[in-house]
Subunit: 114 residues, 4 copies
Amino acid sequence: MHELKRCLRDFAIARDWEQFHSPKNLSMALSVEASEIVEHFQWLTEEQSKNLPKDTLEQVESELADTLIYLIRLADQLDIDLLAAAHSKIEVNERKYPVDKSKGNARKYTEPDR
Amino acid sequence: MHELKRCLRDFAIARDWEQFHSPKNLSMALSVEASEIVEHFQWLTEEQSKNLPKDTLEQVESELADTLIYLIRLADQLDIDLLAAAHSKIEVNERKYPVDKSKGNARKYTEPDR
Amino acid sequence: MHELKRCLRDFAIARDWEQFHSPKNLSMALSVEASEIVEHFQWLTEEQSKNLPKDTLEQVESELADTLIYLIRLADQLDIDLLAAAHSKIEVNERKYPVDKSKGNARKYTEPDR
Amino acid sequence: MHELKRCLRDFAIARDWEQFHSPKNLSMALSVEASEIVEHFQWLTEEQSKNLPKDTLEQVESELADTLIYLIRLADQLDIDLLAAAHSKIEVNERKYPVDKSKGNARKYTEPDR
């Protein structure tokens, strides 16, 4: 991931595109890519979404790549360590949803905790 | 990233939450997290977005973590290699936007290629 | 809708909030509200989404209202007649998907036309 | 708006498309359309977003129409009165942000109230 980060940074700098890469703009681009993934699933059932035709799967793969790319660029511009942040979040979630209390208990999934 | 993938898979299985993790549902969760990032920037100027107060930066970091987590879970359920997909995409972009033609040429940024 | 438009415009002007209401910012706010709706449905099945508990329905109603509010504000700032635009779009769709060819034919829903 | 609601309902029924219009699916389609609007603004400055070229403005108008269309369909499926919900929300906001306390006070815009 660190290699990807440097690679994407060099890519933008070489083309003089950093001017467009404010965190505000990158957050928009990231959300747009995430929605392009949603678009592939919006009319499918959950079951169909588990068994995508080959060409759809390839398009979704491309959209997942774009999403990761903008996520890495955004984290880089904010000087955030993405992997460390994810590991911290998992630890928080492990404390918040201990296995013994969470197993079979879909409360997280039936009562959104916003 | 492979370690994160296994870790997140085990986390969901241990709590019997895989039932909620269809690709359709995960695409929705991913897009919601991406929008939670956008929300922090929607009333800021681009300049302000480069200089976030410490507490806002911490919240954004948490949201970036959630976004990466759902992206990894979704790729895992679709059996997609995220890093390989990102590297392929970068190669495609390098051919599509060669430095000599792209430098200073903001066409990618002024004419969205949908 | 025209009354709502004027009402929302006066609301923003009275509080000196127009400074934040660039189309760029309003598009972000609109997408965030739309995602807040998605969040209520992300772990539900399609069937469950048709039978929401009363309190969830009230929250969704509030989010639908916020979405309409930002949509009207954005259209107002761009001087776009929302109702006329919707009527035009329906006419386009009626020509694109004539009943005799579309009935039972889920092509629009199985092959997204991006 | 009531006419649009009936028109869109008849359109879906005539083509036997109601089967795809669960609230879950419609919330996804709505968020995708809102993101298509964001895409037009992601690389523009706030100032540029106020002065769109004619062809971009036409595309944005089309996307605003699609967003309204899915919003009306979703409200219809949930039996929610969109206009009444918007009016209620405005009253709530008028109490939450009285003019005398809000004018010049950008707290709503500097401290998001999630």
